[in-house]
């Protein structure tokens, strides 16, 4: 029991520090061309506007600094914010950039260097976060139709047993399976997993994307439309194959 006279003996504790891991998108920059960065960021966001709205973001400057480019962190943070994202950290920055970040109340993270250099890893624009993922636990199973305006996100695989309407958006860090008609937008491997695949039993999608490589409805070949298909990435090209 507390001896503090101001504290009632039965007062429940109102706070507690806990350690928790979050899955947060990381933006890996490889150029100091701010105009290009802003433009490409907009393009990525337009693929899944709902997903990115007010999304937290860690900025990774390692690659950039390695190449000897310098970037004004304050301007960069401003571009990111204007795009509707919320920068919550920086890593791989130089002394000046880290100082700028802290002035903007943005925390500085250290690089988890696991011996593998970024060069040999050959990173893409979006890098997976170094969070361990337990596969089965993070699979999301949905039995109801996904309607226009609804958005589903799975940090693992996503399995849907009903239709996905036009105007709906489904996203997974892993694979996507739709055992019905897919009319909406389906984005697999949204954290950069190029091995992710999309399976559906009737392809009529508005957009399909794997690790940021996408096709819109107009680009779909008539030979695969309204067919059961699987979609995967080969040499950064989306392959759509009939699986009937």
């Amino acid at each position: 029991m507390s001896t503090d006279p101001h504290k009632t003996p039965y007062a429940p504790s109102v706070l507690e520090f806990k350690s928790s891991t979050f899955s947060v998108p990381v933006l890996v920059l490889s150029s100091d061309d701010l105009v290009a960065i802003e433009q490409q960021l907009q393009e990525k966001i337009s693929l899944a506007p709902e997903f990115f709205r007010n999304s937290p973001l860690v900025l990774d400057l390692q690659e950039l600094n390695k190449k000897g480019y310098d970037i004004d962190f304050a301007v960069l943070a401003d571009i990111v914010r204007k795009s509707g994202l919320l920068p919550i950290g920086v890593r791989g920055g130089n002394v000046q950039q880290n100082k700028q970040a802290l002035e903007l109340l943005i925390p500085v993270y250290s690089i988890h260097s696991s011996g593998v250099s970024a060069d040999t890893q050959k990173q893409k624009t979006i890098m997976p976060t170094p969070e361990p993922v337990t596969d089965s636990a993070s699979t999301t199973l949905i039995t109801q139709p996904i309607r226009s305006g609804q958005r589903i996100y799975s940090s693992g695989d996503l399995i849907i047993l009903a239709q996905v309407s036009a105007g709906a958006e489904i996203m997974a860090e892993g694979n996507i399976h739709v055992y019905s008609t897919l009319r909406g937008r389906a984005l697999a491997g949204v954290q950069g997993n190029t091995e992710a695949r999309i399976f559906c039993s009737d392809l009529q999608a508005e957009l399909i994307s794997i690790a940021g490589n996408y096709k819109i409805s107009e680009d779909l070949d008539e030979t695969v439309r309204k067919k059961p298909v699987q979609i995967y990435l080969q040499n950064q090209t989306l392959i759509i194959k009939d699986i009937a």
């Binding site: 996904i146 309607r147 226009s148 609804q150 009903a162 309407s165 036009a166 105007g167 709906a168």
Partner: protein, 269 residues
Amino acid sequence: MARIIVVTSGKGGVGKTTTSAAIAMGLAKKGHKTAVIDFDVGLRNLDLIMGCERRVVYDFVNVINGEASLNQALIRDKNCKQLYILPASQTRDKDALSQEGVGKILDALKKDFKYIVCDSPAGIEKGAHLAMYFADDAFVVTNPEVSSVRDSDRMLGILASKSRRAERNEEPIKEYLLLSRYSPDRVKLGEMLSVDDVQEILSLHLLGVIPESKSVLNASNSGIPVILDEKSDAGQAYADIVARYLGEDRPHRFIDDKKGFFGKFFGSK
């Protein structure tokens, strides 16, 4: 147990109020004590369709604000003793309704009524949200055109995720499709989606097809729900819908343009 039915669509002008009036009357005529509530605060349409506009003294908002009792505001229908109307206010704005207030009124009505029909305003904003929030069943009124179908699909997503049943993780709202203002001729000409098209897009249980019909306008001009016009095609369509909702198995009609043929076989009783 009382059941709350929301008549909703997303899009305006598709026939929600027409449908609310018709099915409320149909349920009441089958002997079930029924109340129909106008959620379209600021527009007030239902009382005109029900022909009781001159008898409106208090409204939905008065009851929520405690300015009138529920019994003072409920208007008994002139054609059917089992039917009561709770009109909307014409003078207030949409914000006059609160979730708590609506919940209280519905709870009170549930004690006394078998069916409570909520006529939703258009859109997906507050009024439409309140009309569907407490529902057990949803009659989704859709016209056979792409924009109406898309709006209905959106509304179905809201029913499945934002209703009280969804929030409490209870059994979901039962959803029914009512395809209204259907015109087989125009479907043939390719000007409208067919029943099959709409069902494929929405994958929803079809409760009935209501044909595009002059009788609807005649009925609303004279303030009598179209279901009481037993000779009319739309009136019969609504009678079928009520019967199917109550568990009767009736074949669908008004889907082909063989009106005469089907009319002879399954026509009015």
